[in-house]
């Protein structure tokens, strides 16, 4: 009897906690549904519809928006993928080097200096970074000015970097600290015994980094890169402020379709393509995660 009551009470409490749990997540779910899922599905449908033939025909299903998107902006889609991939590779290398130095470095002063300095760009918004780069990377900008003062360049040898290179430089500068922060954290929590053992056996620091440390932080590195790729795919200010000329990134063309032609259909089609690209990246990551769990572990 007592047991039954206790059981009943436990059930009641669990139900109550389940209910309050639902109540707790409800605002977040509603928020996502109202401000993300609803507009997303709206855009998605819009990408696949065009105005009907007759004046009062309403809308009908069509792939015309996608045809136009590929016809006019095919180059830009490729350009976007290349820019983001190159940036991701550079960010990954930079983050491994920074994290590796902080984890394996021996000069305490330098390690601390790197630890403090590398995070600064985290606190600067993309639009500010883009505006700074616009004057920093220009042909007669600050960077070339300094190089000329140092005698490393003559004024005639200077070139501006306000093209794809400027976009990559800005992305790397802005996203490197974020990835480095996560990677450094993961490296700091590694069991140092493996590192010490490798060192005792005479492995150099680069070899320890590459063969011992990096494989262990790979999951963190990939999560950080996926997040960075998604962020870079969505930034408008950097490509528009550094180089708006064709080929440019897809975000610029989406804004252009809306601003110049009032054409949301093609802009949404580009949006869907952009989603598919980021979706593919996320899928590769998930697949890898599942394989990792089902495999050796």
């Amino acid at each position: 009897m007592a047991q039954a009551t206790a059981f009943y009470l436990t059930g009641l409490i669990m139900n109550a906690s389940r209910f309050s749990g639902l109540l707790l997540v409800a605002p977040a779910v509603l928020f996502i549904a109202g401000l993300f899922v609803y507009p997303l599905s709206y855009s998605f449908i819009d990408a696949f519809t065009v105005a009907g033939d007759a004046a009062d025909a309403g809308t009908r299903f069509s792939l015309a928006n996608f045809v136009l998107a590929f016809e006019l902006y095919g180059d830009d889609i490729v350009f976007t993928v290349l820019i983001v991939s190159l940036s991701a590779v550079l960010i990954a290398s930079g983050a491994i080097l920074i994290g590796g130095y902080i984890t394996l470095g021996t000069n305490r002063f330098l390690v601390n200096a790197v630890r403090i300095l590398y995070r600064w760009p985290l606190f600067i918004p993309f639009i500010v970074a883009a505006q700074c780069m616009r004057t920093f990377l220009a042909k007669n900008g600050l960077m070339n000015g300094v190089l000329i003062e140092m005698g490393m360049l003559t004024p005639l040898e200077t070139t501006g970097f306000l093209d794809w290179r400027g976009i990559v430089i800005t992305f790397v500068w802005k996203q490197l600290p974020f990835v480095a922060l996560l990677v450094t954290g993961a490296m700091a929590s590694l069991d140092r015994a493996g590192i010490e053992a490798a060192r005792d056996l005479g492995a150099g620091r680069l070899r320890i980094l590459w063969q011992i440390v990096v494989p262990q932080v790979m999951p963190t590195l990939i999560v950080a890169l996926v997040l960075s790729i998604v962020t870079m795919m969505s930034v408008l200010s950097v490509p528009v402020m550094i180089s708006g000329h064709s080929p440019t990134m897809m975000t610029v063309q989406m804004a252009f379709r809306v601003n110049a032609y009032h054409d949301y259909g093609t802009a949404n089609a580009l949006g869907v393509i952009s989603y598919l690209i980021t979706g593919l990246v996320a899928w590769i990551y998930l697949r890898r995660g599942v394989a990792g769990k089902g495999g050796e572990k």
Partner: protein, 380 residues
């Protein structure tokens, strides 16, 4: 203690709401860059407040370029569809979207009731890129694109599009513009190019729209030349980017907005030696228009606001003297208001005669969009 605070708060709230009831609010939405919001907020609103101490002018900036005007149009259109009255009383919009706003029945035909209507002489108040807008709009100002050049780098600038097209071959990279995606100075340059090399400027500005011109032999030839031309130019990042690059000496000549150029020069952001010129056969400029939504609840107050904004005094000191725009009303009504210095400065590089002959309008919406699409397809 708590009750005291509560009592104080209640009194305060009552006082505020009583105050709010006595005041009415005039909502002014303006498209355009920061300087537009600044002009309405810091110059026009306080002046209106002197006339109507009981009216608060609330200014909303909706963003630069046609996109800013589109935002106003979309809002008014949504409110119309919902059967609600507009929450905007006065709007400042660009030339391209205003025609659609008129044909969609979003705007009130108010100009006849404004005292200052007789001061407006520009054709642009009657026709906006092919759409009859007479009575629905009053121009706030005219702005104009032109070529800015640095005499130290380009001592003898090309005087026309035709000369420029040859000149860049000998001086590659010295001319810079911002393409079509990054500000209207580049779009204006491209439109000017099409006017110059198709020889159909008149048809493209005045209509009627003739679809056979798009994709015709001369149309395609002009675009092919532009593609060739683009190989020898520097691309700049935006309207501001062109001015920045001119200022740093990275390019020697490029298309800019006249008002932006003078404002930057006055702020010390552009080298004072850089000069302006209007090339043959001319370049487009555009007005910004004051409009009143059809369902604004404060029509009379809105008209009074626009009367103030288009009065010779405000046009002279606000539009011309402080913000370096060309006046929206006929310039002859400003002469008595302006000092000779200000007048001379405005017309130093580009004379009133230049403006009369070489200040063109943008093409009809049909040609406008066709030029952009052709540029995307055939030039880039």
């Amino acid at each position: 203690m708590k009750f005291k605070t509560l009592g104080f708060a209640t009194t305060l709230a009552m006082a505020i709401s009583a105050h709010a009831q006595a005041e009415s609010i005039l909502n002014v939405a303006t498209a355009g860059s920061e300087n537009m919001v600044e002009y309405v907020n810091q110059y026009l609103a306080p002046k209106f407040r002197e006339l109507h101490p009981d009216v608060t002018v609330r200014v909303i900036g909706t963003g630069p370029g046609d996109a800013g005007s589109n935002a106003i149009m979309e809002r008014l259109s949504a409110q119309k569809d919902a059967g609600a009255s507009a929450d905007i009383d006065v709007a400042v919009v660009h030339e391209k979207p205003v025609g659609k706003m008129v044909t969609d029945g979003l705007l009130a035909k108010y100009a006849a009731s404004a005292d200052t209507a007789s001061l407006v002489s520009s054709d642009k108040a009657k026709n906006a890129l092919g759409v009859d807008v007479e009575g629905y709009v009053m121009p706030m100002f005219q702005s104009q694109t032109a070529w800015a050049y640095h005499p130290a780098l380009v001592s003898n600038p090309p005087k026309s599009y035709a000369e420029l097209s040859d000149w860049v071959k000998e001086n590659p990279g010295v001319f810079g513009y911002n393409g079509i995606r990054n500000g209207m100075s580049g779009v204006s340059f491209v439109n000017g190019w099409m006017y110059a090399f198709t020889g159909e400027a008149d048809k493209m500005m005045k209509g009627p729209f003739d679809a056979s011109l798009v994709g015709s032999e001369k149309w395609n030839a002009a675009l092919a030349d532009l593609k060739e031309f683009n190989k020898n130019v520097t691309f700049t990042p935006g309207n501001a980017g062109t001015l920045d690059m001119l200022n740093r000496g990275e390019i020697g000549i490029g298309p800019v907005w006249v008002d932006m150029f003078y404002s930057w020069q006055a702020d010390g952001r552009v080298n004072p030696e850089i000069k302006l010129m209007l090339p043959e056969p001319g370049m487009p400029g555009q007005p910004m228009h004051y409009v009143i939504p059809e369902t604004s609840k404060q029509r009379d107050l809105a008209v009074e606001f626009i009367e103030l904004a288009t009065s010779p005094e405000v046009q002279a000191h606000g539009i011309v003297e402080q913000f370096n725009w060309y006046p929206g009303i006929d310039a002859k009504y400003l002469e008595s208001e302006l000092s000779a210095d200000v007048w001379d400065k405005l017309f130093a590089d580009i004379t009133p005669e230049d403006l009369a002959t070489k200040s063109l309008s943008f093409p009809l919406v049909g040609y406008f969009d066709a030029i952009l699409t052709s540029y995307e397809r055939d030039v880039e």
